[in-house]
C-alpha cells in the first residue's frame, strides 16, 4: 500500500502526547527485545532507534487492543489478528499504566466517541447543540447514529 511517508516522518517530529525509551519486541516469532524511543503522536505510535532522528517504524492505533503483560509491560494487538502482538517493557507499573491509558485514548475512533458523548451531554443539559458554533453539526462523522458497537 502506498502512503505519504515524508508526511508521516514529519508527523513523527511533532510534539508527542507521550515519549519514552521502552523495551520493544516485534510480533514475529523469535523477535528479541530492543531499546526503542517510543513516541505517541495523534493516532500513531512511532518507534526510533535511540540514537536516530528518523523512525524505524510506526503503528496506526486504530482497531487495536492494549493489554497488560506482567510484570510491567503491555502489548498492542490488532483486531484482525489478535495473536500478533507488539510487546513493550516499561520501567515501572506506573509508567506502564500511563502508557496503556494514553494508547487507549489515542485512536481517532475513541476521540470521535468522546465528542459524540460530550455533544450529547451538553445538548441534554442546555438544549443547544455545541457543534453549531463550529458549523459542523451536520457532519456525518459526528452523528450519534454513526456509531456502531
Amino acid at each position: 500500500m502506498r502512503y505519504n511517508e515524508k508526511e508521516l516522518q514529519a508527523l513523527s517530529r511533532q510534539p508527542a502526547e507521550l515519549a519514552a525509551e521502552l523495551g520493544m519486541r516485534g510480533p514475529k516469532k523469535g523477535s528479541v527485545l530492543k531499546r526503542r524511543l517510543v513516541k505517541l503522536v495523534v493516532n500513531f505510535l512511532f518507534y526510533f532507534r535511540t540514537d536516530e532522528a528518523e523512525p524505524v517504524g510506526a503503528l496506526l492505533l486504530e482497531r487495536c487492543r492494549i493489554s497488560q503483560e506482567e510484570p510491567s509491560g503491555f502489548s498492542i494487538c490488532f483486531m484482525e489478528d489478535p495473536e500478533r502482538k507488539y510487546h513493550f517493557e516499561c520501567c515501572s507499573e506506573e509508567q506502564c499504566q500511563e502508557w496503556m491509558g494514553a494508547l487507549r485514548r489515542a485512536s481517532y475512533e475513541f476521540m470521535r466517541r468522546s465528542l459524540i458523548f460530550y455533544r450529547n451531554e451538553i445538548q441534554k443539559m442546555t438544549g443547544k447543540d455545541p457543534l453549531e458554533q463550529f458549523g459542523i453539526s451536520e457532519e456525518a462523522r459526528f452523528q450519534l447514529g454513526g456509531l456502531k458497537a
Binding site: Y3, N4, E5, L115, M125
Partner: protein, 267 residues
C-alpha cells in the same frame, strides 16, 4: 534472530513498508495489514466516492474509489477492491481549490520542502464541496481541539449547575438532574427525561470528569432567575450571554486553529 536484512531504499516517493522493528533497512515500517483492515472494516465511513487523482506533476488523472475514515484517506482501484492501492495520511495538510485542467479540482497540500500536493477532481460541484469540507476537518488534531473545547464546556455547564445547599443528601435521583438542567433549555422544567444513561457506546475508559461529576451531583435545582417567564423560555438575558459565550469559544477556537495551522506550515 533479528528480522530480514537491509531493504534497499526505493527512489519513488511512495513507500511500501514492513511492520517489524528489525535492524538496517531504510524504508519506514508501517502496520499496513492493519491499515488495510481499517480501510475495509464495516464501521460507517466519513465520506466516500469516485475522485480523479493526478498521478504526478505531469501525469494523467486516474479514477479511483476514495474512502475517508478518520484521518486516513484511502483509495482503491475500484469500488469492489478488497485492498487499497494507497492511503493519504491527513495530518498537517490544508485543502484548497485549484486551477486545473480538470473541472471540480481541489488539492490536499502538505507543508515542507519537496512535500507532495495531491490534486484530486470530483465529478460535480456538490461532490467537490463535500470532499473539501470533509477533508479539511479530518485531522486528529482538529478533532482533539473540538473534544477539548466540549470537555470544557460540559464542565462549565455542570459547574454552573451545581449549587449544593449544605444539608442535602449527596445522592440525587437522576431525573432531578434533568430538572435542574432544564433551567438552561427551551423547555419548561419538567420531571426529567428519566435516568441519565451511561453513554451507550462507551468511549472506552470514560473521560474522568464526566463520570465523576454525574455521580456526585447533589442539591435541588437552583431557583428560577427572576426575569424568566414561561412565555419567553429563552429569557433574553440568559440566552444572550449563553450565545455570546458560544460565539466567544468559537472565535477562540478558530483563532487558535489558524495560528496552529500557520505554525505547522513553517518547516
Amino acid at each position: 534472530m533479528p528480522g530480514p536484512g537491509i531493504q534497499a531504499k526505493k527512489p519513488c516517493p511512495c513507500r511500501v513498508g514492513k511492520d517489524d522493528p528489525g535492524p538496517g533497512g531504510a524504508a519506514m515500517k508501517l502496520n499496513e495489514r492493519s491499515l488495510a483492515f481499517y480501510a475495509t472494516c464495516d464501521t460507517p465511513v466519513d465520506n466516500s466516492g469516485f475522485l480523479y487523482k493526478k498521478g504526478g506533476r505531469h501525469a494523467a488523472y486516474h479514477r479511483r474509489w476514495f474512502v475517508l475514515r478518520g484521518n486516513m484517506l484511502f483509495y482503491f482501484e475500484d469500488r469492489a477492491s478488497r485492498e487499497p492501492v494507497g492511503v493519504i495520511i491527513l495530518e498537517g495538510c490544508t485543502v484548497e481549490l485549484v486551477e486545473a485542467a480538470e473541472e471540480f479540482a481541489f488539492a490536499v497540500r502538505f507543508a515542507g520542502a519537496r512535500a507532495r500536493t495531491y490534486v484530486l477532481a470530483a465529478e460535480n460541484q456538490a461532490a467537490m464541496e463535500g470532499w473539501v469540507k470533509a477533508l479539511s476537518r479530518a485531522s486528529f488534531d482538529y478533532l482533539r481541539l473540538v473534544v477539548r473545547e466540549l470537555e470544557q464546556q460540559l464542565a462549565a455547564v455542570r459547574a454552573g449547575d451545581c449549587a449544593p445547599p449544605p444539608r442535602r443528601p449527596p445522592a440525587l435521583a437522576p431525573k432531578e438532574n434533568g430538572c435542574a438542567c432544564a433551567v438552561w433549555s427551551a423547555e419548561p422544567p419538567a420531571p426529567g427525561p428519566g435516568p441519565a444513561p451511561a453513554p451507550g457506546p462507551a468511549p472506552g475508559p470514560a473521560p474522568a470528569p464526566a463520570g465523576a461529576a454525574s455521580r456526585s451531583r447533589p442539591g435541588p435545582p437552583p431557583p428560577l432567575p427572576p426575569r424568566r417567564r414561561v412565555s419567553e423560555p429563552n429569557g433574553p438575558l440568559h440566552a444572550a450571554s449563553f450565545v455570546r459565550l458560544h460565539q466567544q469559544y468559537g472565535q477562540e477556537v478558530r483563532a487558535l486553529r489558524s495560528r496552529w495551522l500557520r505554525s505547522r506550515a513553517q518547516p
